[in-house]
Every structure is written in structure tokens, then in C-alpha cells.
């Protein structure tokens, strides 16, 4: 079933001026081959750290991968030597980022940049590489491919640049694409085009996509299954449909705009609110301070992922679910 891609017991810490902060604490995350898996997380949730840790491009220090495994096709990516992971980057797992302007080198034409990547990873002659580059540009549905090859990044628009980045990422046959906020800086009409492109390419090339964004609606329409990330922990996971129909965790509900009457009041911040965020410890639920539904136990133990219903893939990390009997009836936390 799924031993294609698996994250187990991953704990990543960061050295900050205020001590060591835990940034990622994920017990289990599996990807099935060929699916689009979405991760919803706001800034500070650790989603970019997670994405970068897969390809081992975190700078450490200040990041410290304390423990855990990231299994890809049977190999633990965290244990590979630099040379071995180099072979995986680009050829098996590829990544695209949020800002197309800074990912492309302004002094080379986009054609050259694609060709450079191709020739670095495959043994092709210059002519063959150029043909491949042309094919990739057509694949990402850029019009007038021949002329585009010779354009510099600043001659292209934001959406066109992002397509080039996708072309580069997929040029060497990667089968897993990590997309970290690929449409963040793009206009909405262009964003729609990029999302559709990623979807089409996924079907055409039969790749697996890990789609990370902070806009929950975006992630839902693109992904089959979704995990919600909060302060480095997965607090809810399931298919888009399940979570949309029945979001359980108070944070997820907040993201979807389902705001309880209590939350409709304007929060007047107190001194306590302004103090620095707590270093996430295992003795408290990460969402404790924000949660309006918390109970005594939430302060004492960090909840673990529990199944919401038997026989489906919807899991939530909340004590109020653990408390209840898990049965075939819908689990509501009395909203």
C-alpha cells in the first residue's frame, strides 16, 4: 500500500537566541504513489522546514534534525550521504518554491537554465539537451517555445517564470514533486492556471505531488488527502472531502471560517498574549492558548492523532475526540 513515502517520528529543532525551539514533531505521514497530498499550514507552522528537510536542504545549524526517518522507496533520506542525496535531488524528488524571481538566475536565459540542469543530471549532447528543454517548455504550456528558450527571466511575467521553474523541476524525470507555496506571489487569474497545470502534469507524467500552502481552500481543491499543520504538529488529516464536510479540530474549523460566537468578539490583547510563544513541549496541546474548547487535560498532555471514525482515514489530534467513544456515529465536539 504505502511504503512509497513515509515520515516517521520526525523531530526537528531550531537554535534560536531564546534557546532551542521544537519546530517539527510529526509521528507519521504517508504518501501514496500518484496522489496529490496537501499540507495546510500558516506561517510559523513549520511547513517550509518540513519541505526542505525532505531534500535535506535545511541549514544546520540552526536546524537540528533530532530524530526520525523519512523513507522514500525503502531508503531513509535522512541517513544518506551527501553524494547519494545529490542523486535524488532533481532526478527523483524535485521541489518548487514560492518566489520565481529569486529561484531563477537573472543572468542566464531560461533555456540555458533548463539545459544546465538537464546536462548536469543526464548525459546528453548540447543539441539533445536543447531538444529536451524545448519539450519541457511545451509541456508547461508556454506559447512560442522556441523564442521563450532565448528569453531572460526578467522578460517573462511571474506566471511564465513559475512555469519555467516547474519545467526545470520536472526536466530530469522526478517522480515526486514538492510544491511549497507555488502560487503565493502570483495574481489570482494566473494562479488558477498554475494549479491546473500542476494537476494536468500530475496525470500526464504520473507523478506524486506534495502541495504545501497556507490557503486552505486552495489546498482542498488541488489535493486528494490533506494534513493540517499547526506549530509543527499534524492536528488533523484526512481526505479533502471528509475534512471539508466535517472539520473537527477547532483550528481547522477556524481556518475554514467556521467561527464560534465567542470568537466573534474582538480580542483585546493582554500582556499575557504579547509574551513570546511557548516553546512547544510535549506536556501541553500546541493549540492550548488559542483554543476556546479546551479542557483540563489539554494543559497536561499533548494529544496524539486519533481516528475520528472507524474505517476511514480521518484522524484528529484533540483530547475531546479521544475522550469520546469512537464509534460509527459522527463525532462532534459540541460546537
Amino acid at each position: 500500500m504505502s511504503n512509497y513515502f513515509e515520515i516517521k517520528d520526525l523531530k526537528i529543532n531550531f537554535e534560536t537566541s531564546e534557546g532551542i525551539k521544537n519546530v517539527i514533531d510529526i509521528n507519521e505521514l504517508n504518501l501514496h504513489k500518484g496522489e496529490t497530498f496537501g499540507i495546510v499550514g500558516e506561517s510559523g507552522s513549520g511547513k517550509s522546514v518540513l519541505a526542505m528537510s525532505i531534500l535535506r536542504i535545511l541549514s544546520s545549524p540552526p536546524a537540528l534534525i533530532k530524530s526520525g526517518k523519512i523513507m522514500f522507496k525503502g531508503k531513509n533520506l535522512l541517513e544518506l550521504k551527501e553524494k547519494e542525496i545529490q542523486k535524488i535531488r532533481g532526478k527523483e524528488i524535485s521541489m518548487i518554491f514560492q518566489d520565481p524571481r529569486s529561484t531563477l538566475n537573472p543572468v542566464f536565459t531560461v533555456g540555458q537554465q533548463i539545459i544546465n540542469v538537464i546536462r548536469h543530471n543526464k548525459f546528453l549532447s548540447k543539441k539533445e539537451a536543447e531538444k529536451e528543454a524545448l519539450r519541457m517548455i511545451k509541456l508547461v504550456k508556454l506559447p512560442d517555445a522556441k523564442n521563450t528558450l532565448h528569453k531572460y527571466p526578467n522578460e517573462l511575467s511571474g506566471g511564465q517564470r513559475q512555469r519555467i521553474i516547474i519545467a526545470i523541476a520536472l526536466s530530469c524525470g522526478a517522480e515526486l514533486l514538492i510544491a511549497d507555496e507555488p502560487t503565493r506571489n502570483l495574481d489570482v487569474t494566473i494562479q488558477a492556471g498554475i494549479l491546473k497545470l500542476i494537476n494536468e502534469l500530475k496525470e500526464e507524467l504520473e507523478i506524486t505531488v506534495l502541495f504545501i500552502a497556507n490557503n486552505v481552500n486552495l489546498v482542498f481543491i488541488v489535493s486528494g488527502r490533506v494534513a493540517v499543520l499547526y506549530k509543527g504538529k499534524i492536528i488533523e488529516i484526512g481526505t479533502s472531502q471528509e475534512i471539508r464536510e466535517e472539520p473537527i479540530h477547532p483550528y481547522t474549523r477556524g481556518l475554514l471560517g467556521i467561527v464560534s460566537p465567542a470568537e466573534r468578539e474582538i480580542k483585546n490583547l493582554t500582556e499575557a498574549n504579547l509574551k513570546e510563544g511557548i516553546k512547544a513541549e510535549n506536556s501541553i496541546c500546541p493549540y492550548f492558548y488559542e483554543c476556546k474548547k479546551r479542557i483540563e487535560i489539554c494543559k497536561k498532555i499533548s494529544p496524539t492523532l486519533t481516528k475520528v471514525k472507524v474505517n476511514n482515514g480521518h484522524w484528529v489530534s484533540c483530547h475531546r475526540v479521544i475522550d469520546r467513544e469512537v464509534d460509527n456515529e459522527s463525532t462532534s465536539i459540541g460546537h
Partner: protein, 331 residues
């Protein structure tokens, strides 16, 4: 009687492009190319548009940070470009702005008390003690505790910084506040808070808002009227409810359909427009949207479309509309 408090008449702002030696003006960037809007006191006008539509330039011009190439802007009857120094100072007290980026809109090297107190120091001759009490009061209005006075911006989260920016904007007790993407750089939860706060302040002080946002849920929740901008012109304008229910212009339609919301089923429900936004130097002939319009006709290439009044206050700029009725369904 609700007289228009802010009148923008056929405003144009072109930026010259120099080339050659000696440098000569070869071309113009037509950032704002004839915008006419009337805003009534107490209203919230939402301006929606993508990058390159001219909304930032429009805002800069209304604030008098840029001189217009032609056209006029009248605040409560007075042409803001024909003011003497004293009157310009008064203008600053009338109309203020909250920026999009809560990080960089506050000077990172200044203490909060200085940031919020700056407008007071520039315009009034108050003692530091008086300024301090006023600042405390302002922060209180936006729900920020006293202890923030001696802190730096980087010690706050995005939502908190935005509140501070709002406090600063209100220091001079303006009647008009321009909100430039006030919630796009902050997390979802703080967004709600900020919107509620803005609504409350509007009620309390009878403010008029110009709200710029690409987030339709924000515009939906706050705006009375909305104007859709494309490449320097307003292509549709009307009461928010009406425009959302039945968008008339093809671009408005495409814009609304491109944004996923809680009801979007899947990826096939969102619409992507072909092509890219043309450069503001080379504005397409005829209707400037014709290069990407899914229903463009012959005439759209050749002539600029007229303003069609669809109802009392709802109008759009498109050939395919007839007076009083919507054209065919677009997409």
C-alpha cells in the same frame, strides 16, 4: 444628504520611459488611465484588481504622494492639487492609509510609542507627556496594551502590527482611511479580528474607507460598493452585493471564478484566463481586455467600449452589455 465626499474625475497618471542618448521620453507607462469614482461619506469602496491594474498608483495619487498627469481629485469639494502648504497639512489630517505589509510599514528601529506618536509630533505642538497619553488611548482603541509602548515592531506578530498601524492611521482623526490590502499579510485568525476592528472603528468615528484587496471574502464582508480595475481603468462598478451576485464584465467574472472558496468543488470549477496581463506601456487597442477575453468580438479589437449603465448604480465597460440587462452568460 449623502454628498460624494471624494470625487475622482478622469484621473490619469502616466510615467515616462526614457531611452536613447540624450535621454528622451520614448514611451509612457499608463498606470492610471482615466479613472472616475465617487465615494460617499461613510461608505466603504472596495477596489479589486490584480497586479498592474493601477490601484497602488491610484492610492498614491489620492494621497498626493504623486502628481497626476491629468484629471482631478476633490476631497469634500476641494481640488487636492491646488492647495497651499497649510491646506496640504490639513489634507494629511483628513486622509490616512494603512499599508499592506505590517512589517515594513513600521520603522523597525523605532519604538511603538514613537511610531504611533509621529503624526501627532509632526502636526501638533504637544508635550511628550500629552503625546504619550494620546498614544496610549489610541493603542487602547485597537486592543493593544500599554506595555507595547516601549517595544519594537519585531516583537509583535503580523496581526498585532497591523493593529498598531491602524492606531497610527487614526492618530490625526482622519475622515478617510485607505486600507491597502490590510489583511493579506496576516494569518487567517488575525484577519477576522482586524476586520471586526475596522468595522467597529468605522461605526464609532463615521469613517469612509477605501479598501483595496484581492481577497474577495474580505471585500464581501466590508465593502458597500466595489470597483474592479484592469490595466488602469475601472471596468465594473456597483453595489457590492449586486456585483457579486451578477458580475457583468467578463473580467469580473473570470476574476471571481478564478478564486477558490469554501464552495468550490474541485479544480475544474476554477477558471484560468489565457495569456498574461499586457504591459502598461503597450495597452491593447480597443477594449484593453480583448486580448484575454473569452468572448471578445470584432468590435472589441477596434473601439473602446462605452460605459453601460446596468441599473441605478451598477455599470460596466463592455460592448456585450445592453442598457438595463446583462449580456449572455460568459463562462
Amino acid at each position: 444628504m449623502n454628498q460624494p465626499a471624494l470625487v475622482i474625475k478622469n484621473l490619469k497618471k502616466y510615467f515616462p520611459v526614457y531611452s536613447g542618448f540624450p535621454p528622451r521620453v520614448k514611451n509612457w507607462i499608463k498606470a492610471v488611465d482615466g479613472v472616475t469614482l465617487n465615494i460617499k461619506k461613510g461608505e466603504t469602496l472596495g477596489i479589486v484588481g490584480e497586479s498592474g491594474c493601477g490601484k497602488s498608483t491610484l492610492v498614491n495619487t489620492i494621497l498626493r504622494l504623486e502628481e497626476p498627469t491629468s484629471g482631478e481629485v476633490a476631497l469634500e469639494g476641494q481640488d487636492i492639487f491646488r492647495l497651499n502648504k497649510k491646506e496640504v497639512a490639513k489634507l494629511r489630517k483628513e486622509i490616512q492609509i494603512v499599508f499592506q505589509d505590517p512589517f515594513w510599514s513600521l520603522n523597525p528601529r523605532w519604538l511603538i510609542k514613537d511610531i504611533v506618536g509621529e503624526p501627532l509630533r509632526v502636526h501638533f505642538n504637544l508635550s511628550s507627556g500629552e503625546i504619550l497619553s494620546k498614544v496610549e488611548k489610541l493603542l487602547g482603541m485597537v486592543g493593544i496594551p500599554k506595555i507595547a509602548l516601549y517595544k519594537y515592531p519585531h516583537e509583535f506578530s503580523g496581526g498585532e502590527r497591523q493593529r498598531i498601524a491602524i492606531a497610527r492611521a487614526l492618530a490625526l482623526e482622519p475622515n478617510f482611511v485607505i486600507l491597502d490590502e490590510p489583511t493579506s499579510s496576516i494569518d487567517v485568525f488575525s484577519q477576522n479580528q482586524i476586520l471586526k476592528l475596522l468595522k467597529k472603528l468605522k461605526e464609532e468615528f463615521n469613517l469612509t474607507y477605501i479598501l483595496i484587496s484581492h481577497d474577495l471574502s474580505v471585500v464581501k464582508s466590508m465593502a458597500d460598493k466595489i470597483a474592479i480595475m484592469y490595466l488602469g481603468k475601472v471596468v465594473e462598478y456597483g453595489p457590492a452585493k449586486k456585483v457579486f451576485e451578477s458580475p457583468a464584465h467578463p473580467y469580473t467574472n473570470a476574476l471571481f471564478k478564478a478564486i477558490p472558496d469554501a464552495n468550490t468543488k474541485d479544480i475544474n470549477s476554477i477558471i484560468a484566463l489565457e495569456g498574461e496581463v499586457p504591459s502598461a506601456i503597450n495597452i491593447p487597442s480597443g477594449c484593453r481586455f480583448h486580448t484575454r477575453c473569452p468572448v471578445a468580438r470584432e468590435i472589441c479589437h477596434k473601439e473602446e467600449p462605452p460605459v453601460i449603465k446596468l441599473s441605478e448604480e451598477h455599470e460596466a465597460v463592455c460592448f456585450l452589455l445592453k442598457k438595463g440587462e446583462r449580456g449572455e452568460s460568459w463562462l
